[in-house]
Subunit: 591 residues, 2 copies
Amino acid sequence: MVSDVQPKQTHTGAVRAGAGVHLGRYVPIIDWLGRYRREDLIGDVMAGVVVAIMLVPQSMAYAMLAGLPPQAGLYASVLPLILYAVFGTSRTLAVGPVAIVSLMTATSVGALAPQGTAEYVALALLLALLVGVVQVVMGVARVGFLVNFLSTPVLSGFTSAAALVIGASQLATLLGLSIPGDSLHRTLLNLVRHLSDANPVTTAIGLGSILLLVFVRRALGRPLARWGVPPAAIGAVTKAGPLIVVVMGTLIVWGLRLHATASVQVVGSIPAGLPPLTVPRLDPDAVRALLPTAIAISFVSFMESVSVAKALASKQRQRIEANQELIGLGAANLGAALTGGYPVTGGFSRSVVNFTAGANTQLASIITAGLVALTVLFLTPLFQYLPRTVLAAIVIVAVASLIDVATLTRVWRYDKADAVSLLVTFMAVLVRGVEFGILAGMATAIFLHLWRTSRPHIAVVGRVGESETYRNVLRHETRTCPRVMAVRVDESLYFPNTRALEETLLRLVAERPETTDLVLIGSGINFIDASALAVLESLHVELRGAGVTLHLAEFKGPVMDRLRAAGFIDRIGRDRVFLSTHQAMQSLGCA
Amino acid sequence: MVSDVQPKQTHTGAVRAGAGVHLGRYVPIIDWLGRYRREDLIGDVMAGVVVAIMLVPQSMAYAMLAGLPPQAGLYASVLPLILYAVFGTSRTLAVGPVAIVSLMTATSVGALAPQGTAEYVALALLLALLVGVVQVVMGVARVGFLVNFLSTPVLSGFTSAAALVIGASQLATLLGLSIPGDSLHRTLLNLVRHLSDANPVTTAIGLGSILLLVFVRRALGRPLARWGVPPAAIGAVTKAGPLIVVVMGTLIVWGLRLHATASVQVVGSIPAGLPPLTVPRLDPDAVRALLPTAIAISFVSFMESVSVAKALASKQRQRIEANQELIGLGAANLGAALTGGYPVTGGFSRSVVNFTAGANTQLASIITAGLVALTVLFLTPLFQYLPRTVLAAIVIVAVASLIDVATLTRVWRYDKADAVSLLVTFMAVLVRGVEFGILAGMATAIFLHLWRTSRPHIAVVGRVGESETYRNVLRHETRTCPRVMAVRVDESLYFPNTRALEETLLRLVAERPETTDLVLIGSGINFIDASALAVLESLHVELRGAGVTLHLAEFKGPVMDRLRAAGFIDRIGRDRVFLSTHQAMQSLGCA
């Protein structure tokens, strides 16, 4: 339809004002690095450092959650960040390992190989490769809008449930136990069974870490301010909770030799040196087995990072280009696959920290990557005595904030159907795991939509005062006349609601035997499919048989084009079609 | 919403003018038998006889197609017809065995037991029972509208493909071969392989029958009329084709003893006597295996019979009550299950014959049932020498008319998406069988709908002349003013199109920097889900940031209720909401 404002670029989101098709659109770093302003540097450096302080312990913790050795998390925090900085459109998105993707990695890879084996690590690389390929392909094919089929309620229900599953899965490590668990009830069951085997010292360190993390994040700010510490420093310190607990936990275990005396599980030796070059093995069976998860991760991680990226970008009048984001995240995952990492995405909390710490461009992420690189080069020996329970504590505190009851209550008040799809997703994830949960949620949302549209809202309208406005006679003070009935159908006409349409209109006519003319108002009809056209045809005949003439008013251009081409307009008569309801009523002597 | 004309009864179709809730609504025979008029009798008797003449051979032929002994078809043509006459709402629908349901029976039951075994017959009874239960439950639960999810194009593609599969499956019998075949290519492959084994005499009789059937139906009418035969008689004769070929075929085989000399396969001895009382065995595994097919048959057969029933009813100003139809058809299938039959439904061709032969009430069907009963009581010996190839010929001629190219061409011209779902269904049925074909078709139709709505039509509108009508500036001669942009979104706002909405509006604003006010016209917005609400919230903020004020106009009552309850109206300001676009433009000094 050349004559209409089609969202051509639209669902691709390419709406940066004046963004022509130039290289910078596909390699955004050219844009921002070329115009880099010196005054942005301080903010970028500050943010880069703060995020690195947060990321180093977090990445190791999430790697552990993913069932991988800690260095996998560190490796996944170097090249991926740089590649996203090159190809991503968000200035402040902080890419790297995140909790939910780590969980999805653990469940999917864990189904194919036992944790701790080289096979397991190799499959995680393959998964990252697949996620990267899926995202890049989706971005290049400009089908990023497909992820919209993941509705907000479904994503919310999924996130809350996943957070619970993650938290539960970390409880074991927190207590010094090692039990498997992909879905909540299995995990908790195992946990309760083995509770007596919990390691008291490990538990003490873990719980202590949680308390300290919460204290640093929530309560430390106020006293520091009272002592006159500059806000910037306070910001940095309150974000340094993970680092603090890591340092303290490590010192305690090392000082008291608790790994030996109280058998507190520690990270152990991490190979020093830059991320290794790794080439995932393309075993067809493994690819087939991991592809569904790869697609699920692509959707979920894209939704998570694009939503936070949009939120932050809008604060700075910047725009996010959805398909380019897919390419950026895809590149990051390909980077992870080639350098001993595992699937990554834009993390919510770290991105917010990055933004509030003053990041102006992706240079902040590049600085973060550099610091992580230095860490794996020189500081890995320090993690030797880092207790795993501390990392578990970091994960638990991180995911606690993901449990989202607010959305449920809000959605429940707004629309029961959406609330149902949220709850279905939530329960399905808890009971059957993440992939199934997402699919069940999407299916529920789609079915409820069809159900809704299958029962369209249909209103008899009358004239509002002396205006040319016609509204629902039951909602507004209107004037009507007996012979002419004007009916507005508030739904596109397509197969699920064809029968409802036919029956309602015939019922309305039957209820008003004096009716001689029926004006069908198409302002709410955005499309008419072949099934509905067939019903309109028979409706026209049935009404004529009942001595009622059918008229059309306010039908939209695109809809009229089709009806005309199908010959329907000629069959009912061109003089039965009116641009506005008012015109129709006037020519029928009813206004 | 008490304040609106909701299609409450609607999708149940209970719109017979003045139909209160009385027993006759649930047992329609009370309605029509009570008010039976003597002058209707002639028509009913005539139609009853004509349909019986057609049904006896057809029912045996379809039973054979279903892999059952011929009497199963006859049994399925007695009690089911009477039960439908009691519970059905159509005056002229002719219930009994039909080709497609017979095929679905053959493929589903054939997967569980070999044809010709008692097990096979028992499973066919069970299938009929399940279909009956599913239909009655759907009717009582008043969810008949669910079958609407089977769109016209999908049903058309399914029917054409099934007709091809049926025709192919009968070719074997026509040539005197016996080869299995559920999907087209397998059948044809086997056919070609064994073509050399074809029985020449059988083939001659079969092809002769086809030619005769076509001649009687198409060409016999004209000469008879020339010879002054009364139209009524002509009508009866031209419908008697099946009977004629059955008689002739039987006589030839019996006379020349071809079953012995040329080994022409014949029906053989059929037990005389009324349909036996049968009680299906409720084997859980079998139930689990057959239930999907039972549901598919329920949908397909309901769609077929309700569409023909509606078409015929509208000619006589009668109404079909969808859910009561399900109960009627369900009762018929339960009857079939209890009297040695197999799944039945309202047949298209026989119903048309019944109608044109003058049927006024379901008494015609009761007469038909009586005549079929007499046949199984006294005439079965006559079928001893009836060649199977004749029955195959009857099926082939019957299904030939089901291949529906007209719909494809029409739909293709009207809407490519519908055409695609039609073709997908067609191909899927040919390649993977009927159930898969239906599911694939429904899934395609639903996905294409979501795809369509994910890219909504969005138009900038302007004032048409001096009227209060505002239409697409690119389609109509309109007046606009630079500062104020009025945009009409022609789609309900929900998760698949949230991003498209956001990006398009922001792009439009970016393209017109002089814009200070954006009037969002909701005439085409029939619903806003939670995902879309979230986007509207952020859109409001983003626009304000860009110095653009958001206004709402022509938003519908139900939509406004939700937005108000969610507090969105308060956030954008109550004074930003207008009943009509014209009012909005006036208050913004742009009209």
